[in-house]
Symmetry: C2
Subunit: 346 residues, 2 copies
């Protein structure tokens, strides 16, 4: 008798806000393991803002592909344990990452390139890190924060950097990395509780609640002399405020625009300031910077080990909670890395 698994499927595309009605948890027989494949029992699955962009007929051109209806959602980073292997280099019991998330069992082609290479099957060293850290600080989130600051934003040390959504998965790492690299760090988030965490725990230099006053005002108060780099996860009024506050030769690193994922986006009306102040605005995907993965893991792994870096998490329990986790995250009600802990695989 074949193994039965469960997976979360998209059953309709949301217009505007995503809700539980757009998903269904479906029982599916797990395929037999073929040559070059492994069977993974998933333990942790990722919940990322970018998933929202793929709940459409077509995702933005050049981005990761859209999720088809009534099918498995491929291309979501996941941690699991190998329970059967027909692929060289992978043993039963190995903890791995791959990109077939939002399901309890996954048959993974060891050589399949997923998420631009980032999601390709890989064995993880769990002697130095908790498994789920590989979905956060030591995975795509860490890579996005690290590459966004060091390469895309070309942050030099001794500069002033503003990180938006700074209590989020990427932002909470970006503020810490920027601080470790000797910069003045300004952070924004959507609640006083998050702001307090950023000030007291993370010890950023300044922080403000963007829901308490116009972003421009909060930023002007937190960074009265302007900013050199803006790490953008939000877009919209945040990006406009950043362009206003930029010093000459400033840089914007855009990893996402979560404020615009559920509405018609409007571009920054003050983009001309890029000409006036010689600004650079770069969009990027963490996975486009795979060459930095090992450097990032070494540096952040050591900082995690000795406590200079913390990974904050919001954990949802059980596979079926994945849609709710996404909904809560987009609404700004989670802190740090949002994770689904798949404790209920059969």
């Amino acid at each position: 008798m074949s193994l039965m698994g469960r997976q979360v499927q998209v059953v309709s595309y949301p217009v505007g806000q995503v809700g539980p009605e757009h998903f269904e948890v479906v029982d599916v027989p797990v395929d037999p393991v073929g040559p070059g494949q492994v069977l993974v029992r998933n333990t942790w699955s990722s919940v990322d803002p970018g998933l929202r962009l793929r709940l459409r007929e077509a995702a933005p051109e050049g981005y990761f592909v859209a999720f088809p209806l009534h099918s498995a959602m491929d291309g979501i980073m996941t941690i699991g344990v190998v329970v059967e292997s027909r692929a060289d280099g992978f043993e039963v019991g190995d903890t791995v990452w791959h990109a077939l998330g939002w399901r309890d069992y996954a048959v993974v082609d060891a050589s399949a390139v997923q998420l631009g290479g980032l999601g390709t099957l890989r064995t993880l060293d769990t002697s130095i890190a908790e498994p789920q850290w590989y979905l956060g600080a030591l995975g795509g989130m860490g890579l996005t924060a690290y590459a966004g600051l060091s390469v895309v934003g070309a942050l030099k040390g001794g500069e002033t950097v503003w990180v938006s959504a700074a209590a989020g998965a990427v932002g909470s790492l970006a503020v810490q990395i920027a601080r470790l690299h000797g910069n003045r760090v300004v952070a924004s988030a959507g609640s006083d509780e998050k702001v307090n965490w950023l000030l007291d725990d993370v010890q950023v230099d300044a922080a403000f609640n963007y829901r308490a006053a116009p972003v421009r005002d909060g930023l002007a108060e937190a960074a009265p002399d302007g900013i050199d780099v803006y790490f953008d996860c939000v877009g919209g009024d945040h990006l406009e405020a950043a362009l206003d506050a930029m010093r000459r030769d400033g840089r914007v690193a855009i990893c996402g625009s979560i404020s615009e994922y559920e509405s018609e986006p409007a571009g920054p009306r003050n983009l001309f300031l890029a000409v006036a102040k010689d600004l650079t605005i770069r969009g990027f995907r963490g996975s486009s910077n795979l060459d930095l993965l090992h450097t990032m893991q070494a540096e952040l792994g050591s900082a995690l080990a000795d406590g200079r870096l913390q990974q904050r998490e919001t954990v949802f329990d059980g596979l079926a909670s994945a849609p709710q986790a996404l909904i809560e995250m987009i609404a700004g009600r989670t802190t740090g890395k949002t994770l689904v802990h798949i404790t209920d695989a059969r």
Copy 2:
């Protein structure tokens, strides 16, 4: 009796379209020449899109300063001949450039830094070039085109580049420089006559009239495989079309946004494509790349001398024609570098 000169003054700031009623030609006594100063009889004065941004109470932050009402308009590139000198290194009869344009006589401080250094008083070699070329290919326009392609847009050779406003002062140089550097060049302009000039005379690889069809359609036909670099003088729908057409790792070099100088600007609604396709968008001012001036002048001077590069000009005669020159240029009714030939200095 002191010398009487004339200057164009702004008498009110335009809301929407600029018109002749916003200017006045005023007779003014020319100041005596002090130590470290020279008196220049101006012969050619520049007319640039960016001047429109300074016909306001305040120009965009970080840009060149606004023109005050009822005063001389400082900060406009100009060519003239020294008629009196009390500054070391400048002799009567020298052809010079400086930044006190839109007047017939100018008393210039030899050491005053103007337009970020670009407009500081400088003697020109007229044995190798027509004087007015220093307001075009061998001046700020050449520097903007050259720096925008080579540094800001990081054009590598063998790539596809789109230049908008390609029959304009900067654009007409950018298409030629890009071609000389071995790229596939796509050009757009606002009339069939300009498009024909670009195709037949400049011999770009493809060109389209952006008024004949939506920009996106014209671009898609001219560059069916997409573009690597977009040289932007226009903004608005042009910039959106470019983001759509960009290949991964594409670059946008923005030197201006003339389509938005007389209206409320709207940012590009598809800016998220920068994330999806790892794009870089950089604004810049030519004068921020002064370190390239000599390299540019050597390369473009040689290309002008042997006919590989041409400077096209639209010349307005007499100082009083300067406002009309600006109006015609913004309306897209001039080709190449727009110049005022000051033939009527007393």
